[in-house]
Structures are given as C-alpha cells and as structure tokens.
C-alpha cells in the first residue's frame, strides 16, 4: 500500500493545464500562470507555452482524495511520504510551490 502523506508538486512537469484545479471537489488548489513565446520568435505563428507562476494547495480544505494526482497528465502531482507540517500561523496551511516541491 502506498503512503498517502501529502501531495507533492514537481513544477517542471506542470503545464498549467488547470485539470487538477477544476477537478478538485473542495476547490483547495489554485494556480496562476502566464504564456511566453517559445522557440523562434520570428516565426509566422510563434509557439506559446504556459509558464507556472504560482501554485498552492490549502491543506485546510484538502480531503486527500487524490483526484488531482489521478488526473494530472504529466505526473506533476504525486503522493509524497511526509505529512503536512502543523502550523499556528493563520493561513499557514496554504502551501505554495516552495513547500509543495520535493
């Protein structure tokens, strides 16, 4: 049986497709991204890619259902072994990219 501690994010794999955000039944994930031109900027139709700016999970709302992990097409979200750290700060259960990474 796999260990369901918390959900970890690999930002390099994330394409900002918004699937996890939209599938989350508790609305605990939020994501901000912008687009940049990739490849040859002089091309007639330059290719654009999504660049992840901000990703956060509110562990106070998350019910650890794992739907986000299941829907992620690029395995940017995966179960990690560590539990979510306790906090006494207001809003301390909302973790950004830095806390979710690894």
């Amino acid at each position: 049986m796999s260990v369901h501690g918390r959900i970890a994010l690999t930002p390099a794999n994330c394409t900002s497709c918004m699937l996890c955000v939209r599938e989350c039944p508790t609305w605990c994930i939020s994501l901000q991204a912008h687009q940049e031109v990739a490849g040859d900027p002089g091309a007639r139709r330059p290719r654009t890619v999504n660049v992840l700016d901000d990703f956060s999970i509110d562990w106070g709302l998350c019910m650890y259902c794992g739907i986000c992990v299941d829907v992620c097409p690029f395995d940017a979200l995966a179960w990690g072994p560590d539990p979510v750290a306790v906090t006494s700060a207001p809003g301390g259960l909302r973790h950004g990219i830095d806390e979710l990474e690894g």
């Binding site: 918004m18 955000v21 939209r22 989350c24 609305w27 912008h34 687009q35 031109v37 330059p46 654009t48």
Partner: protein, 136 residues
C-alpha cells in the same frame, strides 16, 4: 425498531421524499419505507405516537426541508435560527459555493506572452456541480 427518518428533495418531481428506516434486530431484517409529499405544501402525519425516538428526526426534517409533521408536539429548529429557508433543499444556494470564486476560472491564456493577444476560449468551463443560477 425505529432507526432513522430523513428526507430527499426532488425538485424535478416537485416533491420531497420522506424516508424511514426500520430494523428488526431479532429477525435481522431492515426495511426502508418512503413516501412523497408535495414540495410546495409538504405535510405528513407524525410517527411520534408510534416511535417517540422519531421526534427529533422529524424536527430536523422540518428544519432542513420544511416538512410539517402533523401531531409532532415540538417542531422548533435544532441547529439553525429558523430563518435560513430550507438549507437541504436542492434549490437553496450553498454559501461556500456562492461566496468563493472558483479557482478553475483562471486561464493561462488570459495572460499572454508579450506582444500576443489573449486567446478567447470558445467556452468557459463552470464549476462542476454548481447550478448556473448560483454563479455570479
């Protein structure tokens, strides 16, 4: 033996289904009985005379769905102040889903690359399970 009494709102059928669960411990049998009441004027005879334990279940169903149980001596609200409408009817908006903006409304293409025009998606997805009339 009386186990529990509850209700299910069914706006499509303009009715509320009142469900009662009865169990016979000796025989190992369980029975689910239900009836439908008119959604606009829901009234039903109380079973308190038969099962005194059903009193608070009827109180809760009255509070949450507005079903009047004729013969129940006390139908005062248990959990709410009684001025919230009928919280468990499907037409009652869920405050948490109305006051909070859906995080899924964000589109990366709303912030396009420098010099590029924001792409307009053909259709914007709405929050799943939230009726359109709840959305701002």
């Amino acid at each position: 033996m009386f186990d529990m009494l509850t209700a299910v709102d069914d706006p499509d059928a303009a009715s509320i289904r009142v469900v009662v669960h009865l169990a016979d411990v000796d025989q190992g049998e369980r029975h689910l009985a239900w009836t439908r009441v008119d959604r606009d004027d829901p009234a039903l005879d109380s079973v308190v005379a038969l099962y005194p334990g059903a009193a608070w279940h009827e109180r809760e169903v009255h509070e949450m769905f507005g079903v009047r149980f004729t013969g129940n001596p006390d139908l005062s609200p248990l959990l709410t102040t009684g001025d919230m409408g009928f919280p468990l009817r499907r037409t009652t908006a869920l405050p948490a889903r109305v006051a909070t903006a859906w995080p899924g409304a964000v589109e990366p293409s709303d912030r396009p690359a420098a010099g590029r025009v924001a792409a307009r998606p053909r259709s914007r997805p709405g929050p799943p399970g939230v009726p359109p009339q709840w959305q701002p």
